[in-house]
Amino acid sequence: MFDDIQLSSIVVAMVRNVPVLIFAALGGLFAERSGVVDISLEGKILASAFTAASVAYASQNPWLGLLAAMAVSCLLALLHGLVSVQQQGNQLVSGMAINIAVSGLTFVLAQVFFQQGGRTPDLGGGRFAVVEFPFAEALAGVPVLGWIYTRLLGGHTPLVYLAFVLVPVVHWVVYHTRFGLRLRAVGENPHAADAAGVSVAATRYSALLLGGVLCACSGSYLSLVQSGLFLRDMSAGNGFLALAALVFGSWRPVYTALGCMMFAFFSAVQVQIEGVELPGIGKVPGSLIQMIPYVFTVVILAGFMARSVAPKAIGTPFVKSR
């Protein structure tokens, strides 16, 4: 009865889907740990996806696309920083504004550049190539081991490995480096950090820029790996899911990545389960499974399962005390 649902393909789909979330969530982690709310993740992902696709299409080189995406995403991060750090404006409103503006602008630019109804042409050689493991063909026939080696571990693009490597790296940066210590201090108690001689503004700007770079990876992954072209509003709530993962992981890198894996798992299940008869339940509509990550986040936010503790100074602009 479970013939139609294959756990192995769900797991592989999860590994393929999760980098978008991991990059974005880790990017948001830097921003929010420094005390700046970043709901503009969504907009940065979308802008990166568009930039990466356009540049990769024009140059037929995915790495150039990724670099260009980083530049654009960092510009948006700087704009968000200008509002949140320098202007001491409302960080939520700034994030919303960036999301809405990017959603409109990417469509318009795609339409003007490519005249295909707001999408880019198929990228062809502009996509990231799959990393081939040695002896992959020879091992493909071996049961279990062959699947693990060729499908689960192998057969992905470099960005997938980068995403998984980044999790321990970000953990190390946040908890074991001088920058990480300053980052957390600025996010928890900026006045104390300021009194200790740490520049709150510089730390927040660098955190936002790091977030911009990571969001660029996330967006590039969407267009250069997953779809192979840019589509209108293709970020499709991934930025907000990444925020949900941050809440889920209580703003800690490893737990946040686990949250991302869970959300990616649900979306893989949703694709698999669509239209399949389940014993006793019947057909479960995919849109209801789509809801699960969001419901989960609300439940966790409400403190019914685990307490999620946000950085203390999050969302409050820093005004130097006299």
């Binding site: 200008l82 939520l92 409103v93 809405i100 409109g104 318009v108 907000f240 949900a244 403190g303």
Partner: protein, 364 residues
């Protein structure tokens, strides 16, 4: 607190106007880069949206929805709550309204049906806002994150309900069946034929009434006083005896009810059925409307008309200028939110210096 004390005319007129002009300047630059002439485009837009009766009718039609979603955000902001969930609350409001309309449109008279359908939209919207309000008040779950999540939950839920249950038999589009004319809101072009085909309807009058009621409730009742006190300083309000969770939950439900009412205009006034994603971002534009209007009823009305005009004029402009698709105005909305909402005090230092300079020279 305020580093740049400015007179009231400056903060409520000069600053928003300067911000709006900056946003339009950036927009003009983008239109120029798209290869069109900004000034000419602007004239086409203004002409299409405001200078003929039918176009103005469309503008006011879009504005009536935006008044409701803008009020929803404004009410919540008075209590210091940032309700991003207007989109979801409006979507659910549309469901409540549709359920009533589909059940009774064959048997009831419009006099009973329309008020009941509107009541249902308000109740559904309020119910959808209750949980985020409750979780904020009692469990400390931040309203911004929960309302974002509730938007997504609403989108999935409505997708399921419409696709699995409400699509009429033998129907291709993802929408409920058409309501019978007893559930149609009377259009104003019955009395004012100049309005032409525009779907402007009695919702406009309701929107104006809602603005007046909002002003009365917030500034002239003890309840509104409590809400504003909570927004300014929750601890002090609590000390003064305002029940905190009551104020938070009550304001959120009122906010949700207003967002839910926003569904009536487009569903019963124009399309006459519930479609997938009928909200079309009106809940989000409501945030811009409230911020630009500085939560003042007149400000909300004016900015709703501005955004309505952008939607209507944008459509017409895109027909004449293929290089400027209607999506350009989503971008311009974003710019306006950025300049008028996030960077609202961008020009405060400049204006302050200018005014102080003039005063100083006057004293000499």
């Amino acid at each position: 607190m305020n580093a740049y004390p400015l007179p009231r005319w400056a903060t409520s007129f000069a600053l928003p106007l300067l911000n709006l002009l900056s946003a339009l300047l950036v927009a003009a630059l983008v239109i120029f880069l798209l290869g069109e002439q900004p000034w000419q485009s602007m004239r086409i837009l203004v002409k299409a949206a405001f200078l003929n009766a039918e176009g103005l009718g469309y503008t006011l039609f879009y504005a009536s929805t935006l008044v409701f979603t803008g009020l929803a955000v404004a009410v919540a902001l008075q209590a210091g709550l940032f309700n991003i969930g207007g989109e979801g609350q409006m979507y659910l409001g549309g469901l409540g309204l549709t359920l009533v309309a589909l059940s009774f449109d064959a048997s009831w008279s419009p006099w009973a049906l329309i008020p009941l359908a509107m009541l249902a939209s308000a109740v559904f919207g309020a119910a959808w806002a209750f949980l985020p309000g409750y979780l904020q008040a009692r469990r400390g779950a931040h309203i911004v994150v929960t309302t974002i999540m509730f938007n997504f939950i609403a989108a999935s839920l409505m997708n399921y309900i419409i696709v699995s249950h409400l699509i009429g038999p033998g129907q291709q589009s993802t929408a409920s069946r058409q309501f019978l004319p007893s559930a149609w809101l009377p259009r104003l072009n019955q009395w004012l034929p100049e309005l032409g085909q525009s779907p402007l309807n009695i919702t406009l009058l309701l929107a104006l009434a809602a603005l007046a009621l909002y002003a009365l409730a917030i500034w002239r009742t003890p309840w509104g006083y409590g809400v504003r006190a909570v927004g300014l300083n929750a601890r002090a309000a609590h000390y003064a005896g305002v029940p905190l969770s009551g104020a938070v939950i009550g304001t959120m439900m009122l906010s949700g009810a207003l967002a839910g009412l926003g569904a009536a205009n487009s569903e019963m006034g124009s399309g006459h059925h519930l479609t997938l994603n009928f909200t079309a971002g009106a809940g989000f534009v409501g945030i811009a409307v409230a911020l630009m209007g500085r939560c003042h009823p007149v400000g909300i009305l004016l900015s709703a008309i501005l955004f309505g005009g952008l939607i209507q004029g944008g459509f017409d402009l895109s027909l004449e200028k293929p290089n400027i698709p209607p999506e350009t105005f989503i971008f311009i909305q974003g710019l306006i939110i950025l300049f008028c909402g996030a960077m609202e005090n961008l020009y405060a230092p400049l204006l302050y210096r200018l005014l102080r300079g003039r005063q100083a020279s006057a004293h000499v």
